[in-house]
Amino acid sequence: MQMPEPNAAILSRKARIVERLRGVLSADAVIDEAHEVRAYECDALTAYKCPPLAAVLPSSTEEVAAVLRICHDEGVPVVPRGSGTSLAGGALPTADSVILGVARLNEVLETDYDNRFIRVQTGRTNLSVTGAVEENGFFYAPDPSSQLACAIAGNIAMNSGGAHCLKYGVTTNNLLGVTLVQMDGTVVELGGAHLDAGGLDLLGLACGSEGQLGVVTEATLRILRKPEGARPVLMGFSSNEVAGACVSDIIKAGVLPVAIEFMDRPCIVACEAFAHAGYPDCEALLIVEVEGSDAEIDEQLGLILQIARRHDPVELREAKDADEAGRIWLGRKSAFGAMGQINDYMCLDGTIPVSELPHVLRRIRELSEGYGLEVANVFHAGDGNMHPLILFNANEEGQLEKAEALGADILRLCVEVGGCLTGEHGVGIEKRDLMADQYAPADLEAQMRVKDVFDPKWLLNPAKVFPLDASAQRRAA
């Protein structure tokens, strides 16, 4: 993965830039010592590292604006950072960039149960937003796997999803408003506690723009009343095809579960060895969860189980109590940890039309055999968002490159069948150079023009999202 050469003129002006930043922030909020900036050299895509010129940790929207004005004036690229959990390299710095971390912006500003929203500073973690309202029976719906650590700022930048978005939608469907600071320090309010835009939907445009249009410092989020209860059911099948057909039949029947999770054999075996969740020995496994009162859950699960039985399941296991429900989710939730124990792995994030599931799983198996690297599949089947995990050994020469090549082939396959490169992780640097596989030059040009409007000098997170050659002229200007 290539990154642009750092600008030597900026590197040579480091002392002056740092001094100017110290002029607008408290002493401990500007980090420039070599051993300290290393803490910001990468995010969760750890294969790529580069210490930034400096890192700043502003404590208010005004401080963010002051930092951005200085960097704009000095022509210094800025890389916004939430909690650094991006799997796509969204917060990877370059040597000539300033990392702008929102970690110190973590207050709850307003909670309004009558109007069902919460306003927070965006350094706050996803889970702690729900934490702030759950005593009153409410929750914030988007639930990315990293929700314990990931910041709302990053969720907005990547339009993060989670396991429960089949019913509740992703970040953009639960985001009501933001305070966004543009690269030149201009502060704009988009949206608010009311619904929908009066003019152009700039809020919808900002969400998922990967920190390239502005730095979001405050967010108004929709909160929902918690359902009365939820219950999962586990189903084992003799092939991926049968499991895929079962998913499709459940959806066609008019039931809308909150989650339908799919695991294939390599994943089941690894999870079982790691978490001892008591999963059956089978080719494919589904976890389907529904919500409501006990009686409503019985009604929905009754229908789901009836459909599943038509597909000759190897096993059907309904959770009788909270403990059994926990065990059903245990293996799924520890899937990534389980994989990490046996191997290095690369987690992909393509989405496909649900109907293509059997075909895509077959092709992934063929590709995996061709490359000689094992792939385990765990994903949100209801919405077609796949997370193939490519297992490799990072210490072995050439294996990372080989895994990346296999990953690129799998993502191209997703696009080929009518899907996309990334369902919830974002493009970052990881999928940047594959964008031309999904989008024609005119499609990319239309997106880059949006950045021209928000950030004419292309200083905000500049080397991400678009293929480097496509954005080269704009970044150089």
């Binding site: 409503e296 009604e299 974002g426 949006v450």
Partner: protein
């Protein structure tokens, strides 16, 4: 009228034209500043190109009638979940509302408060920009964060950034049963409190409206039979402190009642301007008091307020200080020329909006001025 019947032809028309274009789907949503220009109809680009019930997806050309799409979906027990408004009665227009027009207006009805707006279910778009270039964004899968979300930008842009040629949607199952819980004779304040109690309950209220003229406050529940019965009962308990709760289960009656809310039918035959205001729900009654309207209809739990006001009067000075946005949806052309139908934006936001328009439509030929 220009009537291309393919995307290629439409792109050619835009590329080679000199003058401004007035873009028309079904011609049923005459909203915004009056636009002068040659009419460009998208009706020739019609037809559902893909419907996969098992994937909850539908793709269709922009000129496809909404009614045709609803029929295709109904055949598979599905629907457009955001309950698009049909503006014909309110605006006194004729013709067939199209999918493209619906998206351009981000037309969403009562269910928006729970399920989401048109923009939330729009998965992908193809459009021709002001230079005649075909652009696609998003796709036909439910989760997609590949690049910027121009899909949201196009929804509600009223044909000012590009001419839509194809749109794709996430659809949802049509629910088996419905029920309306109705309270009578509540003040606006109490009505919004009752709606708030319902929307803040775990019983999945999919409609929450108040019609002061009819003296009716309504909440809707949808789902499987047993579930609707159970939730109607529990929600009735929640609403009991506000008065006697009637439960309506006849599907035809329930549907008709919510269609009246969706299409603001109460204002259809009455003279006057119609404003549509989005605020946080608890501000709804205060907004209505200040507006001095002749009639009011609350939807979205009080957060969407429809106001019938004397002709030619600007509402905005009266509601200054309340956060949200007000759109003049219905008024004589002269009024729509003198009072901005779309909410004026603060300078830095207006700068972004103007900048985007210049990029997408450098010659300023697509519905020029409609949203100004």
């Amino acid at each position: 009228m220009l009537t291309p019947d393919s995307e290629t032809e439409l792109a050619e028309v835009v590329r080679t034209t000199d003058g401004p274009l007035r873009i028309i789907g079904g011609g049923t949503r005459s909203v915004g500043r009056p636009v002068t220009g040659e009419a460009l109809s998208v009706a020739g680009l019609s037809g559902v190109t893909l419907h996969e019930p098992g994937a909850l997806t539908l793709v269709a050309r922009a000129g496809t009638p909404v009614a045709e799409v609803e029929e295709v979906l109904a055949g598979a027990g599905q629907r457009l979940p955001f309950e698009p408004v049909d503006h014909r009665a309110l605006l006194g227009t004729e013709g067939q509302p199209t999918l493209g027009g619906m998206v351009a207006a981000n037309a969403s009805g009562p269910r928006r408060v729970q399920a989401g707006a048109c923009r939330d279910f729009l998965l992908g778009v193809r459009f021709v920009d002001g230079s005649g270039e075909v652009v696609k964004n998003g796709g036909r899968v439910m989760k997609n964060v590949t690049g910027y979300d121009l899909v949201k930008l196009m929804a509600g842009s009223w044909g000012t950034l590009g001419v839509l040629t194809e749109v794709s949607f996430k659809v949802l199952p049509r629910t088996a049963e419905v029920a309306t819980l109705r309270l009578r004779g509540l003040s606006d304040d109490d009505a919004v409190r009752a709606l708030t109690a319902g929307l803040g309950s775990p019983f999945e209220v999919t409609g929450a409206a108040h019609d002061p003229q009819a003296g009716e406050t309504m909440l809707r529940i949808e789902g499987f039979a047993d579930s609707v019965a159970y939730r109607a009962g529990r929600l009735g308990d929640v609403l009991a402190p506000f008065g006697e709760v009637e439960v309506e289960r006849d599907p035809e009656h329930v549907r008709a009642a919510w269609r009246r809310v969706r299409d603001v039918e109460a204002f259809a035959d009455r003279a006057g301007d119609v404003w549509r205001v989005s605020v946080k729900p608890s501000d709804g009654p205060e907004l209505a008091r200040r507006a001095g309207a002749e009639a009011v209809l609350y939807d979205w739990g009080g957060g969407l307020v429809w106001l019938l006001t004397p002709e030619g009067r600007d509402l905005r000075p009266r509601i200054d200080g309340l956060k949200g946005h007000a759109t003049l949806v219905r008024a004589a052309e002269a009024t729509r020329a003198s009072i901005a139908p779309f909410p004026p934006e603060p300078a830095p936001v207006a700068a972004l909006t103007t900048g985007l328009r210049r990029k997408f439509d450098p010659r300023g030929i697509l519905n020029p001025g409609l949203m100004d």
